[in-house]
């Protein structure tokens, strides 16, 4: 297998991690919204920001596979 193939597999693994993370954030945000609909707006913004954090970690993987 060439080094590009290995890099693609690495990017795929990073995407799995990010998917799990964002899914977990979404699950907890939905739970919290169902329990306390009155602070839905606040929960939504913090969920979005946390999703951006998780996404950034996945993008580190993308950058690493771009460099290879």
């Amino acid at each position: 297998m060439t080094i590009t193939g290995i890099a693609a597999i690495g990017a795929g693994i990073a995407v799995i991690g990010a998917g799990l993370g964002i899914g977990k954030i979404g699950e907890s945000a939905m739970n919290a919204m169902a329990r306390q609909p009155e602070i839905q707006g606040k929960l939504q913004t913090s969920a979005l920001i946390l999703a951006a954090f998780v996404e950034a970690v996945a993008l580190f993987g993308v950058v690493a596979s771009l460099i290879v």
């Binding site: 979005l48 920001i49 954090f53 950034a56 993008l59 580190f60 950058v63």
Partner: protein, 360 residues
């Protein structure tokens, strides 16, 4: 849906259609060689020496930008139009006793007595040197445009406050005031603290609006040659500002927590010291990579969806790829604001940890 949102969505659809048209005309002219999506994407994501707008009748329409080189013979300047859109290193420009070629958006100075570039196996030129390049590239150009736009917005809104003498904002100021209040009340005060936040407000506001407006300019299709905030040098220098401000505003407690962590046994103190020192440098590094990777990835996704049309060589893919890139475009509008916000929040957080008083 109100009229304004409808208008915004229509404008978005129209701009995406225009950008598609731009790529289409650009990539149709070289029928003989197969379409290389990676090459096209990298050309759009990277910095360049001329501002490419659109191809018209196989003739590229560009804005030439000045090239400023520092060679052995001193300062050498000329316009990038003298290369006549050549990027393969075959057009030689003679200036100030040196002969220059442009190869993959880099300016090389040919060695004496050489007429063409020679390459080694890794496609690096072997008979030319790289002079110091201080050119006004398209990223620098776009950065100046956004600085100009920011100056216009903020000077005019500041003038409004001065003129009316009332606390109620009007005009553009009524749009900017909530954003500034938001940065002050949601970012600066909770992260840095009520008594110290004022000193850091100019930095936080500048960083927020500068990153945001550069991100937005990166999304506008006709300007999408410039990927300013997806340039690692740009994000690194912004992160270095945060780093230097953090270092210089660090108080006694901050340095104590780094070099001799209070409240833990001595072996643990020795163990924690290198970790804390590494952590000090990792923070600006992660700021750099986060912004760079997010913005560049957005550009790459949109361009890859567009190049699907040329990879499959079929018009029936076009609605799919335009639809998908419209969807990504809408996500990107949120992402560019969130990334500017996150950079500001993390900068404020790092400054806040450096200035916090010891209260345990």
């Amino acid at each position: 849906m109100t009229l304004n949102t409808l208008r915004a969505v229509l404008f978005l659809v129209f701009s995406v259609a225009i950008s598609n048209f731009g790529f289409a005309t650009q990539d149709n002219d070289d029928q003989d060689k197969p379409f290389n999506a990676k090459e096209m994407i990298m050309h759009h994501v990277k910095d360049g020496h001329e501002f490419h707008i659109v191809d018209w009748n196989n003739e590229p329409i560009t804005i030439p930008l000045p090239i400023i080189l520092f060679t052995d013979n001193g300062l050498t300047t000329f316009m990038s139009s003298e290369f006549q859109h050549d990027d393969s290193g075959s057009q030689i420009v003679e200036k100030n006793g040196g002969r220059f070629v442009k190869y993959h958006e880099k300016i090389y100075q040919l060695n004496a007595g050489v007429d063409a570039l020679a390459f080694n196996e890794e496609q690096h030129p072997t008979n030319a040197s790289l002079p110091l390049d201080f050119s006004i590239t398209k990223n620098v150009f776009m950065m100046w445009v956004s600085v100009l736009v920011l100056l216009l917005i903020f000077i005019s809104s500041a003038r409004k406050y001065k003129k009316t003498n009332s606390l109620v904002p009007s005009g553009i100021a009524s749009f900017m005031e909530p954003l500034i209040i938001f940065i002050r009340d949601e970012v600066a005060i909770p992260m840095i603290g009520e008594d110290k936040y004022k000193k850091y407000m100019p930095f936080l506001l500048s960083v927020f609006f500068f990153i945001w407006i550069n991100n937005i300019f990166g999304l506008i299709p006709i300007l999408n040659g410039a990927n300013v905030s997806g340039n690692i040098a740009f994000t690194l220098s912004l992160a270095l500002f945060t780093f230097v401000i953090t270092l210089f505003s660090g108080n006694k407690n901050y340095w104590k927590h780094i070099f001799w962590m209070p409240g833990v046994p001595v072996p643990m103190k020795i163990f924690l010291m290198p970790i804390e020192i590494i952590g000090m440098f990792v923070k600006p590094f992660s700021l750099t990579i986060r912004l760079f990777a997010n913005i560049t990835a957005g550009h790459i996704i949109i361009l890859s969806l567009m190049s699907l049309v040329f990879i499959f060589k079929s018009e029936f893919i076009a609605p799919v790829s335009v639809g998908f890139s419209l969807f990504i475009m809408i996500i990107e509008i949120v992402v560019v604001a969130i990334q500017a916000y996150i950079f500001t929040v993390l900068s404020a957080l790092y400054i806040g940890t450096a200035t916090a008083e010891d209260n345990h």
